[in-house]
């Protein structure tokens, strides 16, 4: 059976990872925009 600690780790990882994904896209967008490399 999956332990409580594993479930907690998995859920927090999923949420934090998803949030970091949004942040990564924003940072990359700003970088591409500054370099004139959006499209």
């Amino acid at each position: 059976m999956f332990s409580e600690a594993f479930l907690q780790f998995l859920v927090l990882l999923g949420l934090i990872w998803t949030g970091l994904g949004a942040l990564t896209l924003i940072i990359l967008l700003i970088r591409d925009w500054k370099r004139g490399e959006l499209w």
Partner: protein, 473 residues
């Protein structure tokens, strides 16, 4: 049928029309750059990593991700979440293929160009049949999901809601081509990611993870079972379905052609990394159904039902429906627009130019492209209106798309192959995979299709192989 959210029919119409007007205005604005066929179909082949990664990720986040991932978690527990997350491996694996695609087809426009060059007109024809059936079916499932969503959340009649969502996506794709699709995909991907994190955080605030674990181990211990056979089988089937879907579909090939050559592999890899945690975050929302005391009346809507309940507990009753509708609408629109653009590209490039051998001069391009988009959308609309059970067709198509995995990899990386044997393998994989899907177990369709075509493709490397065609220098 409706969820108990505080979203009036008027509000639902206003949100979809408001977002629709925004997408269309942006589509018109970005569409000014789409003066040539390269601009309209491939966004000028100059897309950077931020827009490239976001569009690949957003396209793979469909209503299936936001609705079926919670359903899988609800029915198959922790392994259900992980099984759905494994679909991200398709995007990760496409990264090295994107590098090779750009090298092999520097002037390529569609996935059909690859099949025509490497496997001749028969292989190209087999590919077109598979991909058109699959793409239209996928599009129809999105339109149906959109109609059902508006009916459930805003009490908008199914036919009206489904038509509204399709019309919005058709309009901005018509005006802006791939520029509009990629630009709106970026905004939609941010809304999806932030929305899922926001709802997940609210759920954790209402009921912490130890309580969820305690409830599951007492009431539904199978959902925490480390060795749940059905879920383990689902992982492999989902993974192969994902590989076949991503590798063959022009939705991703057109993006590989649209990105700058060095950007394409990195963007696909990043999109897979960004996509992986979404089914886990969305799936957890469904696991909280029991501890939160949500009476799940329809498991296929468990995600929105729990989200609505949790947002209500957090005092967001008035906005619960608004938030859920916006996140789900974005997840559907980001796939519908991509399918409209990529499938109509196939009609223009492979059917109009390739099959009918019509010359496409710059003056004729926009009317032909617009006609293709309208034909694809009208076909999807008519099928979605008919009430035909397309889910069954889409899931069974796992056998078809999985049969294309090995021929695509081999065609990209090997110089010599027996073409007839590869094509025979694709057809055999489709037929045997479908038989297994319908007669043995649904989870075996993609596995068997991929295995059969793999055997034929490997044999094609050694039994009377001939030089494959490469682009003229």
């Amino acid at each position: 049928m409706t969820l108990a959210v505080s979203l009036t029919t008027g509000n639902a119409w206003s949100i979809v029309i408001g977002l629709g007007v925004l997408w269309v205005l942006l589509g018109v604005w970005w569409g000014r750059k789409a003066r040539t066929s390269e601009g309209f179909m491939l966004a000028g082949r100059n897309v950077g990593i931020s827009l490239g990664a976001a569009t690949a990720m957003a396209t793979w986040v469909t209503s299936n991700t936001t609705m079926v991932a919670p359903l899988l978690a609800y029915e198959k527990g922790v392994w259900g979440m992980l099984a759905y997350a494994s679909a991200s491996f398709g995007l990760l694996l496409f990264a090295p293929l994107a590098f090779r695609i750009r090298r092999l087809l520097p002037e390529g426009v569609t996935a059909g160009d690859f099949f025509r060059m490497r496997y001749g007109r028969i292989g190209w024809g087999v590919f077109l049949v598979i991909t058109l059936v699959y793409s239209i079916t996928w599009l129809v499932t999105m339109a149906i999901a959109g109609g059902k969503l508006l009916e459930a959340l805003g009490d908008i009649p199914y036919a009206q809601g489904m038509t509204l969502i399709l019309v919005v996506c058709v309009l901005y794709t018509l005006f802006g081509g791939l520029y509009a699709v990629i630009g709106t995909d970026f905004i939609q991907s941010l809304i999806i990611l932030i929305g899922i994190v926001f709802i997940g955080a609210i759920v954790i605030n209402d009921v912490d993870v130890p309580k969820v674990h305690e409830h599951l181990s007492r009431e539904q211990p199978a959902l925490l079972d480390v060795l749940m056979p059905a879920a383990l089988l689902a992982i492999f089937n989902n993974m192969l379905f994902g590989f076949g879907e991503v590798m063959h579909n022009n939705v991703w090939w057109s993006r590989a052609f649209a990105m700058r050559e060095k950007v394409a592999p990195k963007a696909f890899f990043l999109s897979g990394i960004l996509w992986f945690p979404i089914p886990i975050a969305a799936g957890f929302i469904a696991l909280a159904a029991g501890p939160l005391g949500v009476n799940v009346t329809d498991p296929s809507k468990v995600g929105p039902e729990v989200a609505e309940h949790a947002l209500g507990l957090a005092g967001l009753g008035t906005f619960a429906g608004v938030i859920i509708l916006i996140v789900l609408f974005c997840s559907m629109a980001s796939s519908i627009d991509s399918l409209l653009a990529a499938t109509s590209d196939l009609l223009v490039r492979d059917i109009y130019e390739g099959l009918f051998r019509q010359e496409l001069d710059p003056r004729k391009f926009r009317p032909v492209a617009a006609t293709s988009i309208i034909v694809v959308s009208l076909t999807a609309w008519a099928l979605a209106l008919s009430g035909w059970n397309v889910d069954q067709v889409l899931f069974s198509a796992g056998a078809l798309v999985a049969s294309l995995i090995w021929p695509i990899i081999a065609g990209l990386f090997w110089k010599r192959l027996n073409r007839a044997l590869v094509i025979t393998g694709i057809v055999s994989g489709c037929v045997v995979g479908l038989i297994f899907y319908f007669k043995v177990q649904t989870y075996t369709g993609a596995l068997v299709g991929a295995a059969i075509s793999m055997m034929f493709t490997l044999a094609a490397r050694w039994i009377r192989p001939s030089e494959l065609e490469t682009p003229a220098a």
